[in-house]
C-alpha cells in the first residue's frame, strides 16, 4: 500500500534577483492498493515526476506525509528504499558495461553478496528476455532493449512496489507492448506498479486505477471505466474545417450551440473541431445540425464517439493532454 496525504513540493528559481516560487505539487492525496497497476496521468509539468521522485526518496517533500508499505517517507527513507524499485524516465545505464554487469552491481548496491548478486542477475536476464544481448555493452542496445534492462534493474531486489516514470516514452509500438507485458507479468507476481504516463489510451487499457494530476493537484481519481462513466452519454465531434478558427466559424458555432438544452458540455480543444457531450448521440446529431444550419454554419464532418480518458481529461481541465 502506498498512501500520501497533502504531499507538497515547490521549487524556487532566481532570475535577475527576482525569486519566483513554482508550486510543482500542491497537496497530493493518493491511495494505491497492493497488487494493482496504478496510473498517474497528467501533462508534462503537471507534477507527476516530482511526486514520483518524492516517493522514491530522491526529493524531500516540503510538506505532507507518505507511507510505502508501512515505511514512513520522512522518518524511514531507508525503509522506503528497500521496499521500492524506481526507474527514471531517462533510465540510467552506462554505455561501456553489459546488462549482466549492470544487474550484478545493482544487486550488490542492494546489499547482496557476490554469488547471490550473480544469481539474481542470471534470473533477471531469463525473466526479462535479455539473454540475447546480456553480455554486450549497453551502448549497442535498442531503445526497447534498454528499457527492459531498466525495469529489470528496478526490480532486482524483488521490491513490493515498482515506480516507473513514463516507461514507454519514445518507444516504438512493439517495444511499448513489451514494456506493458513485463509490467503485467510483475503485477501477476504480486508487485504493485505505480506508473506515470501521458498516453491516455495506454492508461485506459492497462491500469487498474488512475489519478489525473494537473498543475500539481489531483483533479480526478478512480478506475478508467468509472471516470468515463462520470461523463456518461456520447461525444459528438463536429469538424469545422482547417480554417474555422481564422474565419471565426469555430467561435460562432460554439456560441450558437452553447445554450442548447440537449448539450451537457461543449469543448473546443482544437481550433477546428468541437466536442459536444450529450446524453444520446443518435438523437442529438440532427438537432446539432439544425442549430448550426440556423447559424449559417456548415460542418465539414460529424462523428459519434464513446467517451475516452481524453474526454475525462478535457472535462476536468478544459484542455486536451496534447495541448498542455
Amino acid at each position: 500500500m502506498i498512501e500520501t496525504r497533502g504531499l507538497r513540493k515547490s521549487f524556487e528559481s532566481r532570475k535577475r534577483r527576482q525569486t519566483t516560487t513554482v508550486e510543482a505539487v500542491r497537496g497530493v492525496d493518493l491511495a494505491v492498493a497492493e497488487g494493482e497497476i496504478f496510473g498517474f496521468l497528467g501533462p508534462n509539468g503537471a507534477g507527476k515526476t516530482t511526486t514520483l521522485r518524492m516517493l522514491a526518496t530522491l526529493l524531500p517533500p516540503d510538506g505532507g506525509e507518505a507511507t510505502v508499505f508501512g515505511a514512513d517517507l520522512r522518518t524511514d527513507p531507508a525503509g522506503v528504499r528497500r521496499r521500492i524499485g524506481y526507474v527514471a524516465q531517462s533510465g540510467g545505464t552506462t554505455d561501456d558495461v553489459t546488462a549482466r554487469e549492470e544487474l550484478v552491481i545493482q544487486a550488490r548496491m542492494y546489499g547482496f553478496g557476490k554469488s547471490e548478486a550473480q544469481e539474481r542477475a542470471g534470473t533477471a536476464i531469463g525473466a526479462f528476455g535479455l539473454s540475447e544481448f546480456a553480455d554486450r555493452p549497453c551502448k549497442t542496445y535498442s531503445g526497447g532493449q534498454r528499457r527492459r534492462l531498466d525495469i529489470a534493474l528496478g526490480v532486482i531486489h524483488n521490491p513490493r512496489a515498482l515506480f516507473l516514470d513514463e516507461p514507454t516514452v519514445g518507444l516504438d509500438p512493439q517495444s511499448r507492448n513489451s514494456v506493458w507485458t513485463e509490467v503485467n507479468r510483475l503485477r501477476g507476481e504480486g508487485m504493485t506498479v505505480f506508473v506515470t504516463t501521458h498516453y491516455l489510451e495506454e492508461a485506459d487499457s492497462l491500469c487498474d486505477r488512475i489519478s489525473i494530476i494537473d498543475h500539481g493537484e489531483i483533479v480526478a481519481e478512480g478506475t478508467p471505466d468509472d471516470l468515463k462513466r462520470e461523463i456518461a452519454g456520447d461525444v459528438v465531434i463536429v469538424g469545422l474545417g482547417d480554417t474555422a478558427a481564422k474565419e471565426g466559424r469555430a467561435a460562432a458555432a460554439q456560441k450558437a450551440l452553447a445554450d442548447q438544452p440537449y448539450l451537457r458540455k461543449i469543448e473546443l480543444p482544437q481550433d477546428n473541431a468541437l466536442r459536444l457531450y450529450v446524453e444520446t448521440g443518435a438523437t442529438a446529431i440532427p438537432l446539432v445540425l439544425r442549430t448550426l444550419e440556423g447559424a449559417g454554419i456548415e460542418p465539414e464532418m460529424v462523428q459519434l464517439q464513446r467517451p475516452s480518458l481524453d474526454d475525462v481529461f478535457l472535462t476536468k481541465t478544459g484542455r486536451t493532454i496534447a495541448q498542455s
Partner: protein, 251 residues
C-alpha cells in the same frame, strides 16, 4: 562496515570503467609530458643547479602537484556527466551509502592521478632524476592526498553552483593562482617576500615543498610533515563538506 564495503563497491565499478577506456589516462598525461620534455630541460641553467638531477628533483614534484591541482579541480566535470546520465540517481534509490557514491568516485580520480604521477616519475628517470624509494612513497602519499582534496573541492563546487556553464570559469580562476602559489613551476623560495608570505597560507605550497624535500631524500624536513598534516586536514575538511552537500543536494 557498510561505508567501507559500499565505497569499495563503487570504487571497483569505477575502476572497471576506467580500464574499459584506458585511453583517458594517456590523454591526461599529454600536458605533463609536454612540460617534462619541452620545459624541464631549461631548468638546470635557469635555476643554476649543479646537475640535471637536482633540477628534476625540484621540477618533477611541482609537475605532480600541478597534475593533482588541475586534474583534481576539474574532476567535477566527470561528476556532472554522470549526474546527467542518471546513473547516480539510479544508485541513490538503492540503500547504498550516499557518501560511498562520492568517495568511490573521488578515489578513482585519485588512483588515476597517482598512476599518472608514477608514469611521469619513470619518464623523468632518463633525464637524470634520482630519488630514494621511501621518500618517493611518501611523496606519492602527498600526491594522493592533494588529488583527493582537489577532487572533493571540485565535486563540492560542482554541486554548489547554479549553472553548469559556470564550472569551467570558476575552476580556472581558482586553479591557476592556487597552482602558482604552490610553486609548481618554480620554487616559491625564488619569490619576493610578499609573495612568499601569501604562499605560506596555501596548504598546497607546503605539500609541494614537502614533496621536493622527499625527492631530495630529506624525509625529516619540517615541510614534509607539515605538508602531510596540512594536506590531510584540507582533504578531510573537503571530503566532509562535499559529502554533506552530496547527501543533501544532489537531485
Amino acid at each position: 562496515m557498510k561505508l567501507l564495503r559500499d565505497t569499495w563497491l563503487v570504487y571497483q565499478r569505477q575502476m572497471l570503467l576506467v580500464l574499459r577506456s584506458p585511453g583517458w589516462i594517456a590523454i591526461g598525461l599529454i600536458q605533463p609530458v609536454v612540460y617534462l620534455l619541452l620545459f624541464a630541460p631549461m631548468l638546470k641553467a635557469a635555476l643554476g643547479t649543479a646537475t640535471y638531477s637536482a633540477a628534476y628533483r625540484i621540477y618533477v614534484p611541482g609537475l605532480l602537484a600541478a597534475l593533482a591541482i588541475f586534474a583534481g579541480l576539474f574532476a567535477g566535470f566527470n561528476l556532472l556527466g554522470e549526474l546527467r546520465t542518471g546513473v547516480i540517481e539510479r544508485f541513490r534509490v538503492t540503500p547504498v551509502s550516499r557518501v560511498a557514491l562520492l568517495l568511490g568516485r573521488a578515489l578513482r580520480e585519485t588512483t588515476i592521478m597517482v598512476v599518472q604521477g608514477a608514469v611521469i616519475t619513470v619518464m623523468a628517470l632518463p633525464f637524470g632524476l634520482t630519488a630514494n624509494f621511501g621518500g618517493l612513497l611518501l611523496a606519492y602519499l602527498l600526491l594522493a592526498m592533494m588529488a583527493m582534496a582537489a577532487t572533493a573541492i571540485s565535486y563540492g563546487v560542482t554541486m554548489s553552483i547554479k549553472t553548469d556553464a559556470a564550472l569551467a570559469p570558476v575552476m580556472n580562476t581558482v586553479s591557476q593562482p592556487l597552482a602558482l602559489l604552490s610553486g609548481v613551476l618554480l620554487p616559491v623560495a625564488l619569490a619576493p617576500h610578499w609573495l612568499r608570505s601569501i604562499a605560506d597560507w596555501n596548504p598546497f605550497y607546503w605539500a609541494v615543498t614537502g614533496m621536493r624535500d622527499l625527492f631530495a631524500g630529506d624525509v625529516g624536513a619540517g615541510a614534509v610533515w607539515g605538508g602531510i598534516g596540512l594536506t590531510a586536514a584540507v582533504m578531510v575538511a573537503a571530503v566532509a563538506w562535499t559529502s554533506r552537500l552530496f547527501a543533501r543536494r544532489v537531485s
